[in-house]
């Protein structure tokens, strides 16, 4: 079965940051947008109120997977997500350094990396986006 993909429509984004809140809450039980795995950053170069959404592409030939020395990043064949297996992770930070898009982040408190796991096939960011700027289909 072909797995679904995350689609982003920046034009529809209003930078309400509901997605960031939802993501942080779902994964860390705290509503701090800075800890979110999706970024609805107002692009610093854009002054016209337009926004970009950045979230993991679950790349086919993923740099994070290639960089991980401990095979702690695995693709979930059902959701298509590259999942970070905390138990296997040796927390060397190689994946964070390797991801060219900044979608692999470092959790400063837990001292391990975190990334979008597509919420096991039901991404909360999609559910909470009021404008349809993020879709999963």
């Amino acid at each position: 079965m072909e797995s679904k993909l995350m689609h982003v429509f920046p034009g529809k984004c209003t930078a309400c940051r509901n997605c960031e809140q939802a993501c942080a809450f779902a994964h860390l039980h705290e509503g701090r947008p800075t800890r979110s795995r999706i970024r609805a950053d107002a692009d610093p170069q854009l002054r016209e109120g337009k926004h970009v959404l950045v979230v993991c592409y679950q790349c086919d030939a993923a740099a994070c997977v290639a960089a991980c020395p401990a095979n702690a990043l695995w693709r979930d064949t059902e959701t298509g997500a590259i999942n970070h297996i905390a138990e296997r992770c040796i927390r060397c930070g190689s994946c964070v350094a390797a991801c060219p898009f900044g979608n692999m982040r470092w959790e400063p408190l837990a001292q391990h990396p975190s990334k979008c796991d597509l919420c096991k096939g039901d991404p909360v960011c999609v559910r909470f986006c009021p404008t349809g700027a993020i879709q999963y289909k």
Binding site: K50, A67, E87, I90, C92, S94, A97, G102
Partner: protein
Amino acid sequence: MIRLTIDGRRVESRNGEYLLTLARRAGIEIPTLCHHEAVEPAGACRLCMVEITRPQWNGWSKLVTACLYPAEEGLIVKTSTERVLRTRREVLELLLARSPRAEAVRRLAAQYGILEPKYAVDQEGDNCILCDICTRVCATHVTGAISRVNRGVAKKVATPFDEASDVCVGCMACARSCPTDAIAFSQDGATRAIWGKTFEVVPCTVCGAPTVTREQARWMAQRKGVAEEDFYVCDVCKVAKTGLSCRKVMW
């Protein structure tokens, strides 16, 4: 398919996984300190002891470490018999006497009702319980900068000759994987020191925030055949850059 029971629950395994894996999958808690999914099991901490038997053993049973015992057809596994619990308590007594300040040890010991060690406490004892996770992690996945040296009571984890290692890349996997926070390191923005070696944490070429050590970047670059400089951008700046390129595509 191998079928066995753990604490009366029927459990199945396709390829002879270790009992610990099966028990945890079935939601049965077995304490461990030397277990790490990223490396081969060692059987060093002796906390995951379980009692195994078979009907044809006529009541005879033995203790084995769940982390190393492969699933076998018809095995009857019990994870909290009196024999198991006493062994576990006695092991914790020894660990607590060895590393009385190690938080993970204290917490586990308290769970088993041990608040004060009954044996002579090693006053100079550090937090290292020689679980071997750090050295296994480093040897298996990184550069093998540290190893267990000496033997018996003198055993410790160290770099060769206790000197700064040529091959250590300062990735901190050892320190971060340590269950008892026994590995000393220091970090302040641009530098990081561990195992007697000080590393420069290269500042982000865009914003100046710390990224990775030069040694780690080189090691990664060498392994994957990519340019070292690619690693010197922090994740925040990478997101911004990603956004920027998106914008260029979109608009």
